[in-house]
Symmetry: C2
């Protein structure tokens, strides 16, 4: 399941990004489409509220296709969680590495934004992540996966903050790791609140940027 799961995740990344997985045929393609459909339906009506029927209808298949690819709705959910978290993690890592390569002439604010931008696709992601956290509170397997992912994410952001502090000779008012946690927390909270306020995807990001920027300014002293 692990090797297969990873492969499937790759294809879902493509599917989610709107790129039809051309090299992939038949089974894999069906799987990716089912996951993409599930991603949308879960975000709309929740994990419990989503019927297998609704997922299949959205994907343009019948239930037969579903049970041929997944043994249960839960299994699909886990693969989906993995695909989404992998994508976010990958996006952040790439940005971190990218800005390490070019010794950027950007302001710290722009850097933070540019890195965190990679963690959001839009409203669907916000809802799905909330669903995952909620499930993690009740289900041990989800909890383990979530904690591992979250700590990886903090690692990356922490690394970025340390890089920044060194490059720009900044004095941090808290340890880099704590700032990383704070930044991610504020970012996520801004997105959640914006989602509840029914702000569109564009405003969503602007709001989150504003809040995070503000926090960053308050937590950093420029060296004399």
């Amino acid at each position: 399941m692990s090797a297969d799961g990873t492969a499937a995740a790759q294809h879902v990344l493509q599917a989610i990004d709107g790129i039809a997985p051309d090299g992939v045929r038949g089974r894999e393609r069906t799987k990716a489409r089912l996951m993409r459909a599930a991603y949308e339906v879960f975000a709309e009506v929740g994990l419990d509220g989503a019927s297998v029927e609704a997922i299949c209808e959205r994907a343009g298949f019948t239930r037969g296709a579903f049970y041929s690819n997944f043994s249960t709705k839960e299994e699909l959910f886990f693969e989906l969680v993995r695909a989404v978290t992998d994508r976010k993690l990958e996006a952040v890592s790439q940005r971190v590495d990218g800005l390490r390569a070019q010794d950027a002439a950007l302001t710290p604010n722009e850097l933070v934004q540019s890195v965190l931008d990679g963690t959001v696709e839009g409203l669907l992601d916000v809802v799905l992540m909330s669903e995952i956290r909620l499930r993690a509170m009740r289900d041990d397997e989800t909890a383990r996966a979530y904690l591992a992912w979250a700590s990886s994410l903090i690692d990356r952001v922490e690394g970025m903050i340390e890089s920044l502090a060194t490059s720009y000779d900044l004095r941090l008012r808290l340890p880099a790791r704590d700032i990383a946690r704070l930044v991610l927390t504020v970012w996520e909270d801004a997105l959640i609140t914006a989602a509840i306020e029914r702000i569109d995807d564009e405003g969503l990001r602007r709001r989150a940027e504003l809040r995070t920027q503000q926090l960053a300014l308050a937590l950093v002293d420029t060296a004399p």
Copy 2:
């Protein structure tokens, strides 16, 4: 429904606090017990996962009692949300007023903790609030209620922070309202993470206190 709803909420507060509502008989008592049971069951298996049957079983009634008191599971959920948010808001308000009365000789950290302590009963609250937020992302009525409550809560904390800043002659590195939002966000996030890490109610609070304390220290300069 509004007057009745408020009355029922009062009784649920008692029921939730473990105090049997003695003066109340029959109908009101049944309602309070059903809400207390629902509170627990919702936290355990989620709003969707909770069957009316399960709630009634927990409360020691049959479904007849349920439908005699609520027209639907949703109605019960809304009354419950109202009772829980009212209780939190009330608790915070009381603490804020309390520490305004006595010109406290506490440290700012102790004050923040003492105020925020009122917002948590334990793990159940954390789970239920997450459930409410998630629902608010999809349901307009829940969204309105949640936003109104959240802004009231920020108001109170903002007021407290302003009081503190004046009394202790503190220089805030951000506007009081933004600090209030930050403090509440960090507090909630710490609770959520602790819940996912399966930390007990005691540790839950300690963790949240630590994080919030740290944030407060970083955002406040003591005047020279």
